[in-house]
Symmetry: C2
Subunit: 249 residues, 2 copies
Amino acid sequence: MPKPPDARTAAAGTLTPPEAVFARVRSQTAFEETVDQLGTAIKLGLLPPGSQLPPERDLCARLGIARSTLRQALTALSQSGHVFATRGRHGGTFIADPQPPAHPPSPEMLARWREVCDRRLAIELGVTVLAAERADSADLDALDDVALTLEDALEDFAAYRQADIRLHVGLAEATRSDVLVREMTDVQGAMTDLISHIAHPPEILASSNAQHRRVLAAVREHDTIVASREMTEHLKGTEHVLAGLLPGG
Amino acid sequence: MPKPPDARTAAAGTLTPPEAVFARVRSQTAFEETVDQLGTAIKLGLLPPGSQLPPERDLCARLGIARSTLRQALTALSQSGHVFATRGRHGGTFIADPQPPAHPPSPEMLARWREVCDRRLAIELGVTVLAAERADSADLDALDDVALTLEDALEDFAAYRQADIRLHVGLAEATRSDVLVREMTDVQGAMTDLISHIAHPPEILASSNAQHRRVLAAVREHDTIVASREMTEHLKGTEHVLAGLLPGG
DNA sequence: AGCGAAGGACGGAAGACCAAACCTTTTGCG
DNA sequence: CGCAAAAGGTTTGGTCTTCCGTCCTTCGCT
């Protein structure tokens, strides 16, 4: 028969439990999560315009949800213009042309921009280190290609951001770690929400590109130290830009 | 009138969408997430034995769920012996004495051990870098205390692991980033599941402690480079142990 | 013409979650 | 002593989400 408050309460020290322990348990519905997952993939260009989604009957199985739930999500995405469907024999659901970003920065997102950047730092740094250990030259060649695309996109931020995402997600893929790819797409989605509405002068993008090149070079040499130093510097760059423009900077 | 498959499908290059895009949408119920969140905090010792949870009526508000849902979770935790409740004026819900780990390694967890380690690397590395930038000397003093506790726990792995977790979570708290604390507790919970059932000779723990000391010293000097190098080495240590014992190593 | 593969629509069953009461136990205090 | 307060425990009813199965519609291909 246990007696409630015993001496150990004090004996355990004054350590107060991290408030994360009692933090809000996030309980998004399957519908919402699906809209987020597919919507982010579209926003990030991971699902390029014109490409076709798997048939609903297959896709709902892969996502682990019922078809009706998937259809709710697809209906939402089609109403917001991200997707459209055609019927008939060779019909299907297709990715629409990119939407004008629309999203005004979302006030409660802006309040948490520092947290987003912190999370990004962790993911990108981990990815960089693991990529430097595991990427093979085929991976690196593909990434170099993307880097070349970036060089030609200094004047068009939408195109630049697109390729930038390809580069960062590609680096995550080179780690062969599905969780890291997932976290990278997540965090890039959040970053896009933050930065797509601020000015990006070509000089800044050019210097970003130089950092990209240095990161890739270091990764190719399996030099984790240099790779992570360069990546850190790269990330601090955009962080400084944000700090200058957003509250609490 | 949109026409479905157009030339861009091919023009966009051979990039096949990362399979993470169509990955299972994880839809845990609020009940399950609550059990996980509180259960992990208990397992990790973040809620020490004998300590008291907030009253149900408060706690459910903080967690953002209904009281009936919270009670489901508490009932589950009490049936598994992690928690017990007393009624009456000064009653409450209290953390029970630590359970014998019980958990047999869980076969599908073992299969994903590499992913867990990868995620841990990312979080720990990010935390280390940010802690090295942001920790003040009060943070460091507290962490040094924990490190001292670790020195005396070489023979009792349960106690050792407990303090180890305090150290790593404490480092995360020093970043002042709630998301990182949350991710750290998450990942430490997963690690505990992996490592609590394997042998930990005192020599290994002693060398871990040496690494802890070097990490803390570097953090105190705001030396992010050295701190992350030492942390990486520390993490690789347990990773090698796992690689020797688990499938796919 | 018709088959087959795709999206589209409905209707009910099951379950998760919530909200708001109400009950029971204990204890401090007037 | 007895009551009020503070806690956990119980019940009920309703809403919303999700699932499953079935059927319909469209339309290119053979």
